[in-house]
Amino acid sequence: MAEDTVTIRYFARLREELDTDGESVPCAGARTAGDLLAQLASRGGPWQQLVEGQPVMIAVNQAMARPETPVQPGDEVAFFPPVTGG
């Protein structure tokens, strides 16, 4: 039921440490990107780093976002470490 899920993507160090580049998760109780982070972090283990330790940057539908940014079913939400290009 794609209608009730959001697509999550992970990059760089997070992609490696979580051992996945993305997944589709139900977003029934999640109204913001921060809610999603908390939901994922509750899996424990390496997932806890999403809410503690090093900062996590957020993009919603490929635009930089913040924990309070709203998310809706069908959105693409990305979590990644601070960027280091250039």
């Binding site: 635009a63 990305a78 990644f80 960027v83 290009g85 250039g86």
Partner: protein, 151 residues
């Protein structure tokens, strides 16, 4: 006139410069920046870099930065190239080139684009050495250099 390229392919600065120069008789100044793979960063003995990005978002964010630069300065041409994948020591990583009527706008826009690119565009560098790999940490100095341009 602007162009953004993100990919594994290398670039030729002379060719990029020629395209910037070909921006009409009103162009009086061209500023360019090229970033290279260096032998030390977070680690010493760096032999190469692996660069990851967020395809789709990367290009959009750079296009948006160019729009912001055009609002702040009079720019006649802008070219931004950023490589991804595995790069060796001394390889070229990034090119920013700006053509304008005057040097102030060309220098400022070139520096703005590089500073903001470092802190706002979804690229990540991993340093490769003989003894292991390390995801580069974002530097406070880079954040300060980005912040000086305001929102």
């Amino acid at each position: 006139m602007s162009e953004v390229r993100v990919g594994e392919a290398d670039f030729d600065v002379a060719q990029e410069y020629a395209r910037l120069r070909d921006s009409g008789g009103g162009t009086g100044a061209i500023a360019t920046f090229t970033g290279l793979v260096r032998d030390s960063g977070d680690l010493s003995g760096v032999t190469g870099l692996y660069l990851e990005h967020y395809p789709g978002m990367t290009e959009q964010v750079i296009e948006d930065l160019i729009r912001q630069a055009r609002e702040r300065w009079q720019l006649r041409a802008v070219r931004v190239i950023h490589r991804v994948g595995t790069l060796k020591l001394t390889d070229q990583i990034v090119f920013v080139g700006v053509a304008s009527a005057h040097r102030e706008d060309a220098f400022a826009a070139c520096q703005f684009l590089m500073d903001i690119l470092k802190t706002s565009v979804p690229f990540w560098k991993k340093e490769l050495t003989e003894s292991g790999e390390h995801w580069v940490e974002q530097k406070d100095t880079d954040v300060r250099l980005g912040d000086r341009w305001g929102e």
